[in-house]
Chain length 194, copies 2
DNA sequence: CCTTGCCAATGACATAGGTCAATCCGGATG
DNA sequence: CATCCGGATTGACCTATGTCATTGGCAAGG
């Protein structure tokens, strides 16, 4: 428990709430450390999402496959982000998302049961998850507005501003999917931007 | 404090957490009751959103006006829903949304300061807001996926399923804006559906 | 070092949905 | 009542983005 493997997560927590060392170790004790290889699928459509994952290194995408078989990326989570099929996680029902590592990835998993335990024993963490979710919600709402009011090219501009480091780590297909266009159109769009 | 004006809100709270009568009254005491007439604008772009509003009766919309002057509805909040410019509320910065009553509306306002007070004195409410936000977040994510993977007509089908009562209360323009199409296209779409 | 396979680019063509203007209508207001 | 105004509909036309198929490149694995 004294190693620094969870450095990134500790930082993340302390940025949001103040906790005692005991509370912190209790949290860390509830986690399960996992490794995924590139292209490993962590969760499939129709499965119940049992864990929230904090990414320590690497990158995970969450996506939907529509009835035409097309993939639509909902979330891209590099190190320092939490990711899950949130709807499934909170409702305890089967979800419709896939989770997949797009790089070799290390993560810390917090199971639904352990989260419940954590929140019961250490209600201070309620605030951590509330604030986290509020931020995620605000960003999600902004994305809805962007989808309705901006062109694909403008959405790409915002993407690059918001996630400059991701722009190089992801393939064009992935960025295209995230901003909501096809790879062919994305490619044409890039050319047109000179 | 003993009147039943906040019946709907009390119910809403008790559906999510268990609170003592004292905690409940403390919450209710922090609220400010307001009335809005139809078309009244509660918040404009560029303003700091100081309150969360719980709708007791009537209906509020939140929307963005894009650079072409077009309105895009983000949220429709009838009685029983909380509404705010969440990003502005949580960051304490100027927002980009408008809030406007689309019916004569009664609401209970919880200011940022009072929410902070509430959460400090009665941490039990952290859970209430966490759960609320989680649900809202999950719905918001679903809407992003719908925008990416469904046609306008399919989005309308989902809208009617999800909000059957709203379908009649709103104008076609409003529904069109919410599902992300223009009024003319919405009208044509309806005709085509036979 | 040669497959194999996915990604990127691109041409030809298709379409969902947007734009703009005209008309009609019903409810609100003086 | 008469007026006014915004919503709904619709026609003609437009465009952003999708579809599909082809080609070339580059990276991983046997």
């Amino acid at each position: 428990m004294r190693d620094h493997t969870y450095h990134l997560l500790q930082e993340h927590i302390q940025k949001h709430i103040s906790v005692t060392p005991d509370e912190l170790s209790f949290f860390l004790m509830l986690l399960k450390r996992v490794t995924y290889h590139k292209n490993q699928v962590l969760l499939r459509e129709g499965e119940n999402c049992l864990n929230f994952a904090f990414i320590l290194s690497g990158c995970i995408k969450s996506y939907l496959i529509d009835k035409k078989g097309e993939e639509h990326i909902l979330t891209i989570a590099p190190e320092g982000w939490w990711v899950a099929d949130v709807k499934s996680f909170i409702t305890n029902e089967a979800g419709n998302l896939f989770l997949e590592a797009i790089e070799p990835t290390q993560a810390a998993l917090l199971s639904r049961a352990n989260q419940a335990l954590l929140l019961e024993k250490t209600p201070r963490f309620e605030r951590y998850f509330r604030v986290l979710t509020e931020r995620a919600f605000a960003m999600s709402q902004q994305r809805i507005l962007d989808a309705m009011s901006l062109t694909a090219s403008e959405r790409f501009d915002k993407f690059r501003l918001q996630y400059p480091s991701l722009t190089n780590r992801l393939t064009h297909r992935q960025i295209a999917s995230y901003i909501g266009v096809t790879p062919s159109f994305f490619s044409r769009m890039l050319k047109q931007r000179k």
